[in-house]
Structures are given as structure tokens and as C-alpha cells.
Assembly symmetry: C2
Homo-oligomer: 197 residues x 2
DNA sequence: GTGTAAAATGAATGCCTATTCATTATCCTA
DNA sequence: TAGGATAATGAATAGGCATTCATTTTACAC
């Protein structure tokens, strides 16, 4: 079987898992139901994933890779820490707001156990936090931001704000677009890092 | 059996559940193991709780009630929105940092399903966010804070920062005290709401 | 078109554990 | 202290589902 089909099948399984897990929750979603939606046999899942939990991990890995790739691309074209930080806020809200199923998984289902979250956190989210911290460090060094900021701590704070907005959006049933909050959220984030004039 | 003993037994079950769930995670913790640690029979659990999930919910309810009670008490003695907001930050970090087992549950295990989180969020966390929003509104009205703040959104941002600090503390194995971050975190939070002078 | 390897299938297996409920112990009143 | 209620017990039940693997299908080279 060609490389392409193989790739497609794996993708199909991940897409199916995203839909089902978002609707039923990780623990209520059986491997059988994922297989059915993906149009493969139950056993086929295990040709592509070691076990059920690895599906969840791959799901998130794939999403975060895309997320970070797009982020880097957008950031490259910008100069100045403030512009970059604004772009991060905008991008975060836009990308999370783009796919509610995926958002449900990243904001809720992913956090289903300490062990799992620890692994994920170190390996993946750490990269993202690192990018934010770098931008803040750049701003501190260049005098755009307050000089007494600890970039690592400030990055966590920024991430906390964005993550809470995302979770709130997922939990609220109102049908507003997450992006719509970008201007206000950006203002709050910028206030955290701006020098007191 | 006296009212007191009954209460004690329920408390014992909740305490046992806190320890076991923090160590193994909600799904790996069997009702039998909670019963054993609490020193009761498996069936006894069901005299006090409708089912396993209700144990988790009660656990959190009890903790948040204490949390909010202590918060209100501390806040009463203070005047001025800035002082209150500072107190909230300090209190949040102090109380979460006081009990790591409980923190593991609130920051990780509690968020194990969308349905569960939705209920919890509306019923309980909403109260807490409301208190923060009130304080911010007071500060806006009194000119202590920026007048263009939306108190509800700003409260979410503040909560996001605090929640992320708590989660980070739970996931990091380093043995620092969470309270130690209070001054820096307070600075970040105050920066969000302070008027641009 | 035949043979071999790779991929896919899905029924069967085996494990796990929440919850129930018949039985036993304890409490309390008169 | 009798006996009716209330509380506690824990073995048995019942259902659920991840994972395996013997078998079948497909791909492809010669």
C-alpha cells in the first residue's frame, strides 16, 4: 500500500477520533466507534496507534505542530516584540476558535490525568511557552516592555489569559466567535508587559 | 448514629478520596480503594454519595466553599479595589499552594469531561469569577482601575493567570512554594487593571 | 496469473470495577 | 432489655470495552 493512502488512513482515524471524543468525551468514546466513523475495522486502529491513549496524544501533537508552524510563519514577517505578541494573541484565539471539536479536546479532554498532562506539558506546550517567553525577552531587552519582567513567568501569565479565554469559549454555549475578543484580550495582555510610563 | 459521626464518616471518605485520586488519578482510583483508606466498606460509600462522580463533585464543592468563605472574610476587612485584588491573588496562591493533593484534583482531575466541567463551571467557579468581577467593577467605578475595562472579561483574565500559575506549580516537580510567586504575579495582575498614567 | 508479503478484518478474549442488595450489626426508645 | 429502625457490610453481579490474533483480502513483482 502506498505511502499516501497510509497517511490518509491515519489522518482519517484522527479526524474521526476528534469528532467522537469532542462529542462524547474521551472515556465514553470507544475504539469501536472511532473505527466505525473512520471506516476501518477495530483492529486497524492498532496498526497505526499503540493504544487508545496514543490516539489522543497524536491528535494533540498534530494540532500543536500545525499551530506552532503557522505561528512561526506569521511571526517571521514581523519585527518588534509588541507586534509579535499581538500576533500571538490574535493567532491563538483565531486558531482555537476555528475548530470547536478540536478546542473541546485541547481545553477539556486532554487534561484527563496528571500523568498524561505532565508528559504533554513538558514535551509540547513547553515549546509554545518558550516561543512566547522569547518574544517577551526580546521586548524586555529592546526596551519595549517593562524591564522588571521575568519572561518565563510573564509567558505563563499570557498563556493563562489565552487559555482561560479559550476554555470559557468552549464552555459557553453562546455562539460568539472567539476571535471577536481579540482586541480586548490584546489590550489586557499588552497592559501586563508595557512599561509604566 | 449521631449527626456528628455521620458527618465525620462523610468527611473521612472525602479525605480518603482526595489522597487516592491525587495519587492515581480519578479513573485509576477504584471505589474499593477509597473505601479501604476511609476504613469503611465499599457499599457504605453509596450511603453517602450517589455514585463515584459525586464524590469528586463533593470534594470540589467542599474545597471551593471553604475557599470562598475565607476569601470573603479576608476581603471584608479591606477597603479599596486594589487592596482587594491584591488579596485575591495572594489568597488564591496561598490556598491552592497549601494542599498539593487537593491542587492536583482541582487543576487536573476535575477537568476530565466536558459535561462535568460545564456543570461545575456554571455552579461553582462562576461564583468566584463573580467576586473578582465585582472587585474590578468597584475599581473601575472608583477610578482606581482603567475605565475601559470590561470587569467580566478582566476577571476571566485574572483567573486565567492565577489558574495557570497553579497548574504550572502542580505539574512542576520542583519544590518551591506557590505563595513565593505572589509578588511577581500580583505585579502582573495589577498591571492589567491599572490606568495608563 | 501466480506467489509472497503487507495490510486489514472483526469476532473472541480477558480484565476490570461500579453498583447492588441480602445479611448483619448497631442504635435508640419505651 | 426487647424490638424496630437505621446504618454498615462485602460478596456477587452485570456490563462494558480495549486489545489480540487467526483468517482474509489486497498489492505487486516477476
Amino acid at each position: 500500500m502506498a505511502r499516501k493512502d497510509e497517511h490518509d488512513k491515519k489522518e482519517r482515524i484522527l479526524d474521526a477520533a476528534t469528532m467522537e471524543i469532542a462529542r462524547r468525551g474521551y472515556h465514553q468514546t470507544t475504539v469501536a466507534v472511532i473505527a466505525r466513523r473512520a471506516g476501518v475495522a477495530d483492529g486497524t486502529i492498532y496498526l497505526y496507534f499503540k493504544n487508545k491513549e496514543e490516539i489522543l496524544a497524536s491528535l494533540f501533537g498534530r494540532a500543536l505542530d500545525r499551530f506552532i508552524a503557522e505561528g512561526r510563519r506569521k511571526l517571521e514577517g514581523l519585527s518588534g516584540a509588541e507586534a509579535k505578541l499581538r500576533a500571538i494573541v490574535e493567532l491563538h484565539l483565531t486558531l482555537v476558535g476555528q475548530d470547536r471539536d478540536l478546542a473541546i479536546i485541547t481545553q477539556v479532554e486532554l487534561r484527563h490525568s496528571l500523568h498524561f498532562l505532565e508528559e504533554l506539558s513538558r514535551a509540547k506546550v513547553g515549546r509554545y511557552l518558550g516561543i512566547i517567553a522569547e518574544v517577551i525577552a526580546e521586548g524586555v531587552a529592546g526596551g519595549e516592555f517593562r524591564t522588571d519582567l521575568d519572561p518565563v513567568l510573564a509567558a505563563k501569565a499570557v498563556f493563562g489569559v489565552l487559555d482561560e479565554m479559550a476554555t470559557d469559549w468552549v464552555l459557553s454555549r453562546r455562539n460568539i466567535r472567539l476571535e471577536a475578543k481579540a482586541p480586548e484580550v490584546t489590550a489586557l495582555v499588552m497592559a501586563m508587559v508595557r512599561p509604566v510610563s
